[in-house]
């Protein structure tokens, strides 16, 4: 492909992309927009403004290993190990 042909191929790709970009949004993108709006109210003041009285004299964080057991949604995400076996994302305390 000579230089001029390559240039015209790029130009045609750009025009295709422009046409796609200005076409009506797909359902997935519409959904994304709604999510965007629902998330827009987040700001730092809202999330930190109510914590000024959160402290107590109790030592707030200890280093117990049980806290390192993940109990969240990571269990729904399946890890495939290099040897081909799978396991879920639940964490166990690090053994030493």
């Amino acid at each position: 492909m000579d230089r001029r042909t390559a240039n015209l191929a790029i130009a045609s790709t750009v025009m295709t992309a422009l046409a796609k970009a200005t076409a009506p949004a797909t359902a997935e993108e519409e959904m994304e927009q709604c999510y965007g709006i629902s998330k827009a109210g987040q700001n730092d003041c809202a999330s930190t403004g109510d914590t000024t009285c959160a402290g107590t004299s109790k030592v707030d964080y200890d280093k117990n290993a049980w806290k390192y057991v993940a109990k969240g949604t990571c269990e729904k995400i399946t890890v495939k190990l290099p040897d081909g076996s799978t396991r879920t994302g639940s964490l166990v305390p690090a053994k030493s």
């Binding site: 001029r4 390559a6 240039n7 015209l8 790029i10 130009a11 790709t13 750009v14 025009m15 295709t16 992309a17 422009l18 796609k20 970009a21 949004a25 993108e29 994304e32 927009q33 999510y35 965007g36 709006i37 998330k39 827009a40 987040q42 730092d44 809202a46 999330s47 930190t48 914590t51 000024t52 009285c53 959160a54 402290g55 107590t56 004299s57 030592v59 707030d60 964080y61 280093k63 117990n64 049980w66 806290k67 390192y68 057991v69 993940a70 109990k71 969240g72 949604t73 990571c74 729904k76 995400i77 399946t78 890890v79 495939k80 396991r87 994302g89 964490l91 166990v92 305390p93 690090a94």
Partner: protein
């Protein structure tokens, strides 16, 4: 003890519950503990608001334990707390208790990019209508300035799928990690932070564009790196999501 040394001792004791009462503090240790715990509680709440998906993935106890360690090792370096937490992704990558969740660090990079985009400079996105009028022969010589809020996160894991279900579903959908790699665009052209999926290799393409490469050279670099790179699809997403601040035609 001089002012600098006593301030350093005070600062160190703020993130270490085992540290002795810093010199010069009047009153009981309980009083100082209240102050210290207020700081830890504020910074923990801040990280929870910045990394909600990480928190949901690992649960509250793990999140508090991990952020407690992070705060002690990486206390705020700036009085501007908007800047706090940028090191969390790198911290998680090396955090041994999280080693069995290898995708966490990329999710954290994504969440930080969304936070940074939210606080990035307001800049009007580029006007695309000028492109159609350009000489087609010279289109491969176009250069682009990325929008200041734009960021790309490429991962070997399906990070956008993980992020989406944890952000928007009451009950998360099961995801297999070998579902494949995902590359994510984050940008805020107007008021909302937008998160969109990009084709493989687009991170190479965008990094090349951002460092001043022409459209043609950036496309070649991305295709060399990843044969699956799709220029039309990538440009369509970048145009539609308004990820460019300026489009600069060739002057030669």
């Amino acid at each position: 003890m001089g002012t600098d040394a006593s301030q350093r001792a005070f600062a160190r004791a703020l993130t270490d519950p085992d540290a002795a009462l810093p010199p010069g503090v009047i009153g009981s240790a309980a009083r100082f503990n209240i102050h210290r715990n207020n700081i830890i509680a504020s910074l923990t709440a801040l990280l929870a608001s910045r990394f909600p998906v990480i928190r949901r993935l690992v649960g509250d106890d793990f999140f508090r334990a991990a952020t407690g360690t992070f705060i002690a090792r990486h206390p705020p370096q700036s009085p501007v707390l908007v800047e706090f937490g940028g090191a969390f992704a790198v911290f998680l990558a090396a955090f041994e208790p999280a080693a069995s969740l290898p995708y966490l660090t990329d999710i954290a990079r994504m969440e930080w990019a969304r936070h940074a985009a939210y606080h990035a400079a307001d800049v009007a996105p580029a006007d695309l209508s000028s492109i159609a009028r350009l000489d087609h022969d010279r289109m491969s010589l176009l250069r682009f300035t990325m929008h200041p809020s734009a960021a790309i996160v490429a991962s070997p894991f399906p990070i956008l799928s993980i992020w989406r279900t944890n952000s928007f579903d009451a009950e998360v959908r099961p995801i297999a990690l070998d579902a494949g790699s995902e590359t994510v665009l984050i940008v805020r052209p107007h008021l909302e932070v937008i998160t969109a999926s990009l084709s493989a290799g687009s991170d190479i393409f965008i990094t090349a564009l951002a460092t001043g490469a022409t459209l043609g050279d950036a496309a070649l670099a991305a295709a060399d790196h990843d044969p699956a790179f799709d220029l039309a699809a990538t440009l369509a997403v970048l145009f539609r999501k308004q990820a460019f601040a300026a489009i600069i035609p060739s002057t030669i």
